[in-house]
């Protein structure tokens, strides 16, 4: 295994995986707490449609992924704010519509394009130096904004109306969160793919949720789990020659079930059940 680490491509993929794993797991905390799980799933499919359109038209795929991703989250946020439609309905419609667009764009392409499928299923082992620097720049940007607005983000995740009532610009912060979710999805497309990126956002935070009663600890645990499973997943992928996306996600899922099993919250519930 040590020989593998000497290769440039291996170092690049480990670095990309660590950044994407860390980023997804930190934003995941806010996604899980604010109840935006389904929004993440919808966004990743919308971003993929953007990638497909990019390849079809010969435009920069990541740029279109950002446009599609942002349009989806902003429409979703706007619909939720207006209370016109339930969030799961609006995102469900956008989710399937953008997926249909993605399939349509692929169908319109004259020839089979393996790179497009790379964005669907993820291929961290083929990350180029240019892609690595894009991932690095976006990771620094998103984490920086998360850090800068962390107290407001925690507050709206806990209770948005209360946050607004006590003088926090809650609506703007909510849209900032949606924007950061979209950017995170785009950053992660190349490494884990549109289908699995959402697991990277959801699973580490949900695992940490089982293990602590403190917001600060939750974020720390989530980031640790996210970075660890991403790096370990890439190593497993390279060593046993299995696809990297599934290796990362299945490893994370295994840790999730272990956490559920050993969760102090679970113990407490059983104890309560016995005393009642």
């Amino acid at each position: 295994m040590l020989d593998l680490l000497a290769y440039d491509f291996m170092q690049r993929s480990l670095l990309a995986a660590a950044m994407v794993g860390g980023l997804c797991s930190v934003i995941g905390v806010f996604v899980v707490l604010r109840g935006l799980a389904f929004v993440g799933a919808g966004t990743s499919h919308a971003a993929f449609a953007g990638v497909a359109l990019g390849y079809l038209m010969g435009w920069p795929p990541l740029l279109l992924a950002i446009v599609f991703g942002l349009a989806t989250v902003w429409i979703t946020g706007w619909v939720e704010e207006r209370g016109r439609m339930k969030l799961d309905v609006s995102i469900g419609i956008l989710y399937t519509t953008t997926m249909a667009l993605g399939i349509l764009f692929i169908g319109l392409m004259k020839s089979y394009n393996a790179e497009v499928y790379g964005y669907l299923f993820g291929s961290v082992l083929s990350v180029t130096p240019e892609e690595l620097s894009i991932i690095g720049a976006l990771t620094v940007l998103v984490l920086g904004l998360l850090l800068l607005f962390s107290k407001e983000l925690y507050f709206i995740a806990f209770d948005q109306e209360m946050a607004e009532a006590s003088g926090v610009p809650a609506r703007q912060i909510f849209f900032l969160l949606l924007t950061l979710v979209a950017l995170t999805v785009v950053v992660s497309l190349k490494t884990v793919g549109a289908i699995l990126v959402f697991a990277m956002i959801l699973i580490p935070a949900s695992t940490a949720y089982q293990l602590t009663h403190s917001l600060a600890t939750l974020t720390l645990y989530s980031a640790t789990i996210g970075i660890f499973t991403s790096i370990a997943g890439v190593l497993i992928s390279a060593f046993w020659d299995v696809p990297s996306g599934p290796a990362i996600v299945l490893l994370a899922t295994t840790i999730f079930f272990i956490a559920v099993f050993f969760s102090p919250k679970r113990e407490r519930r059983t104890r309560l059940a016995h005393t009642h």
Binding site: Y154, F155, A165, S166, G167, S214
Partner: protein, 263 residues
């Protein structure tokens, strides 16, 4: 302290609601610095709307509302941090991962403003707020593991951490057992007395607050009364609002039909 008769909240013929649905109509009411005001009325009478209006979450569709020196005809009012608010709430998600101190610290966030990180001073303020509600020994506990009454105390501490001038409580005793209900109201009274806070307490339990408040505000879309309890709690006045749902016992207890809270 400023002049006790200086109104800090002033409604002038203010109406609130949406086109086709008026929640509060033509309200004229002045609330003075340091007053303890109870807001009563049947379910759906606009009590919570009154709260949201004072918090600047809802602009009047007609008339005016002034809070402190700020005409809150538009939704953005940066005086919000000076108003502590305890929303009407069900039980919090028992597993939501937040500690008592983290919850109370959130009260500092609006007051601090964007880009400022909470420091030692803010933690001291939060700890002091917890001490004021008698929950300082629980600061590292999980919020979800506390009883309903304890959670209300923590949320009151969060409001106090804003260092507010006004405290608004929307049905703070809902869902609590009788002892906890009394303890919460007792605490509110104590905070009013000690911190000289202006308090707006919304409740359906008239008997619990009648001996404590300076004035009762009686609402049912319109303002029916805003006067000391003895002047408001008269059958002829209450009947206008509660109709046949009202029973006044021989011991002068006021009992009203209560179909939204099942005890």
């Amino acid at each position: 302290m400023s002049d006790p008769r200086e109104p800090i909240i002033r409604f002038e013929h203010a109406s609130f609601g949406f086109p086709g649905l008026i929640a509060l109509k033509d309200i004229s009411l002045a609330i003075y610095d340091g007053e303890f005001v109870g807001v009563i009325g049947p379910n759906g009478s606009g009590k919570t709307t009154l709260c949201r209006a004072v918090l600047g979450l809802l602009a009047p569709v007609e008339g005016h509302l002034h809070i402190f020196d700020c005409a809150c005809n538009e939704l953005r009012c940066y005086h919000r941090a000076k108003i502590g608010y305890l929303p009407q709430k069900g039980v919090v998600d028992r597993n939501f991962p937040v500690t008592v101190l983290e919850t109370v610290m959130m009260g500092r966030y609006g007051a601090l403003g964007l880009f400022k990180r909470p420091g030692k001073k803010d933690r001291d303020i939060a700890q002091e707020a917890l001490a004021q509600v008698g929950m300082d020994s629980h600061k590292d506990h999980s919020l979800g593991h506390l009883s309903g009454g304890q959670q209300q105390r923590v949320f009151i501490a969060r409001a106090l951490a804003q260092q507010p001038k006004v405290l608004i409580l929307d049905e703070p005793t809902t869902g609590l057992d009788i002892t906890a209900q009394h303890n919460v109201i007792e605490l509110v009274q104590q905070l009013h007395d000690e911190l000289k806070l202006t308090v707006l307490l919304i409740t359906h339990d008239i008997n619990m607050i009648r001996s404590r408040v300076d004035r009762l505000v009686l609402l049912k879309t319109r303002l029916f009364a805003a006067a000391p309890p003895a002047e408001v709690l008269k059958p002829e006045i209450l009947h206008q609002v509660y109709g046949k749902d009202l029973v006044i016992t021989e011991k002068d207890l006021v009992i009203v039909e209560d179909y939204h809270h099942h005890h």
